[in-house]
Amino acid sequence: MTDVRPGASGPDRPSAARAEGRPTPPRSGWLVVYALLAPAIILPLWVSLYDRETPTFLSFPFFYWFQFLLIIVAVALTGPAYLLTRRLERSDRVAHGLPPEPPAEGPTTSGPGPRGGAQ
């Protein structure tokens, strides 16, 4: 789950190889991502759930503090979802005929770049 930048040669080699050698079905991984993101979409839209005065918190009515809480919940769920997609992207890329990592990093690098041996 480490946030490894593509192209940072050393540490990401094993994980890239793993994605290449044993392509886990991305579908089920993406379901976890959707499940993580779903509360951040459904709860804010479910207004009858929180359209009330009590219980208050620091004298804020429930209606207000619950929505502030939802912001924190959304952030807490999006973070893990982001880390998860970084792995899923690799198998997605392989499934679409791309190398697991882009051969070079950054739009300013023209051509395959110094580490461009991947393809």
Binding site: P6, G7, L37, A38, A40, I41, P44, L45, W46, V47, S48, D51, R52, E53, L58, S59, F60, P61, F63, Y64, Q67, F68, L70, I71, A74, V75, T78, G79, A81, Y82, T85, R86, E89, D92, R93, H96, G97, L98, P102, P103, A104, E105, G106, P107, T108, T109, S110, P112, G113, Q119
Partner: protein, 548 residues
């Protein structure tokens, strides 16, 4: 013309305004790496190289605009809590950005797309569909820019500048000056100007809001006092106006949405969230990022602004509790700052709001200008336009768009600026089937999408036209009763439902009739590529199928 102006507040304001003006012009050299601004990638997308940090400020500046600072607290001040929907709206929008926009980023970078209409052209091979997507984007952006100008106007009024004259030109002279300065540095620096100014804007705004939400409630007796004062004030209003409320000539006030308004609240939040990233300016912000992961990381980081937005909205209540009395609710928060802060800090606060209007106005006019250049000028007028001709067109059109927005401000009632933006939201949401659905499947037929768009636009505009409010007989609000019920919902979502029904039905019909569906210029792989992949840096002609 300058009566009753506090010299200290005015001096601080002018100093900060001049600072961002200098930054705006200096931005032309920032991160340019010696590249000239003679192409749309440089002028219109800032070189497509913004990382997480800059993108956070830039996209934040896109989403949280003067609308945030003026209109949302204004609705709370006026006792219409439905305006607080801005908070759930800015929660819901990020998971959507997280899921959809990396695909748009990839396909756009592989094919050199600058606008959402470029993508529609490449995907559906339909110049007509791309044209209407572009026109809708331009049309929807103008009232959004207008909203920023309204925000600036309100601050200038509260500062006491420009209210003294009955001559409309002299009255709005400061607005014109700010406007001309904005136009000039956008023209010369492109997207780099708002990206650089966004740093100053957000720093100022964070300071102002944090001070405001801790210092002012403390001064007037705490949040407990704020909420109790507001509810008793609203109860008194409702008792005094009971007859009018029963007859429907006055609106009841409350600190919480009434049960019947729950669908209005959630449909506004969902509709606005879906509409947000159909706006050309948010697409511009997203396409200016360096890689796919910058977008996803930002979807996790941007909600920090939503917290601020919620606190800011509550300043509408704080203004009531602090005894702020203004006829125009939009002036409530600037007036609160003027009364509660020492003059120098009030100057900082006013500058923060005005700069907060300049940043999105610049991005929006750039995005609208890109649409014109790529999807109208290049597609229909000069099919062999060079990069420098494209950049020159965009620069000129960015000026035209800003004057179009000024027309909106002068011609339409700006009593509730929020409704202008909501009308734009109705229109822009009708491009969702072509853009978002198109990112996943090409099942929908190009002419069905065209017909669906036309139906949604026509019905949405018609519904909005029919909404009356106490101050205007048309375009009075964003809500209508769902057909066959009394439940009010956001017009944009209703129009989108019609749009989707028409599109699906006609797709089935057109496919059965074997009507030509054009050539898809994109491949499944294009939706997954990232920075560094083969072909991602190449500027390809979007009119041609890639890798043919």
């Amino acid at each position: 013309m300058i009566d009753h102006v506090d010299g200290v507040a005015f001096g601080v304001f002018i100093f900060l305004f001049l600072l961002v003006t200098v930054l705006g012009f200096a931005a032309a050299r920032w991160r340019s790496g010696g590249n000239s601004l003679d192409s749309l990638d440089e002028w219109g997308l800032g070189g497509r190289g913004f990382g997480t940090f800059i993108a956070w400020f830039l996209i934040g500046g896109d989403i949280y605009t003067a609308y945030t600072f003026i209109a949302v607290p204004a609705t709370l001040y006026a006792g219409s809590v439905v305006g607080f929907f801005a908070v759930p709206y800015t929660i819901v929008v990020y998971p959507l950005i997280f899921l959809f926009l990396p695909r748009l980023w990839s396909v756009s970078h592989r094919h050199g797309y600058v606008t959402p209409a470029d993508f529609v052209q490449g995907r559906y091979d339909s110049r007509a569909l791309a044209l209407v997507v572009a026109l809708t984007g331009i049309l929807a952006t103008m009232p959004y820019i207008a909203l920023q100008l309204v925000g600036m106007q309100v601050v200038l009024q509260v500062m006491g500048i420009g209210t003294g004259s009955s001559n409309w030109f002299v009255k709005d002279l400061p607005l014109f000056i700010a406007f001309v300065v904005l136009a000039a540095y956008t023209y010369s620096s492109g997207l780099r100007a708002p990206a650089l100014i966004a740093f100053v804007k957000d720093t100022l705004i964070y300071i102002v809001i944090l001070v405001a939400v801790f210092y002012i409630p403390h001064q007037i007796g705490g949040w407990d006092h704020v909420f109790s004062t507001v509810s008793s004030s609203f109860s008194k209003f409702n008792a005094d106006n009971a007859k009018g409320i029963a007859a429907g000539t006055a609106a009841g006030k409350g600190t919480m949405p009434p049960g019947v308004a729950q669908w209005a609240y959630s449909s506004l939040a969902l509709g606005s969230a879906l509409a947000l990233f159909m706006y050309p300016h948010s697409v511009t912000g997203v396409l200016s990022t360096r890689s796919r992961s910058v977008i996803r990381r930002n979807a996790a980081l941007l909600p920090a602004y939503s917290f601020l937005l919620g606190l800011l909205a509550l300043l509408g209540f704080v203004a009531i509790a602090a005894g702020v009395k203004v006829d125009n609710p939009q002036q409530s928060v600037p007036q609160l700052f003027k009364e509660q802060f020492s003059p120098w800090f009030a100057g900082v606060a006013f500058a923060a709001i005005v700069i907060g209007a300049l940043v999105p106005a610049a991005i929006m006019s750039i995005a609208a200008a890109n649409l014109w250049t790529r999807n109208i000028y290049r597609a229909f007028i000069n099919r062999n336009a060079t990069h420098s001709q494209e950049a020159r067109q965009s620069k000129l059109v960015s000026l035209v768009v800003k004057f179009g927005a000024l027309f909106f401000v002068l011609a339409l009632s700006n009593s509730f600026a929020i409704n202008l933006q909501l009308l734009g939201g109705v229109w822009v949401l009708q491009t969702l089937p072509a853009i978002v659905v198109g990112l996943y499947t090409r099942w929908m037929h190009r002419w069905a999408l065209f017909a669906g768009w036309a139906a949604g636009m026509a019905w949405g505009t018609w519904l909005a036209y029919g909404v009356a409010s106490p101050v205007q007989s048309h375009f009075g609000g964003p809500l209508v009763a769902f057909p066959g019920t009394d439940t009010k919902v956001y017009i944009a979502l209703l129009a989108l439902i019609l749009n989707l029904i028409v599109t699906v039905v006609l797709t089935v019909v057109l496919r059965a009739m074997h009507v030509a569906e054009g050539t898809d210029g994109t491949r499944p792989q294009d939706y997954h590529v990232d920075a560094g992949d083969i072909g991602v840096e190449d500027e390809l002609d979007p009119g041609l199928p890639a890798h043919a």
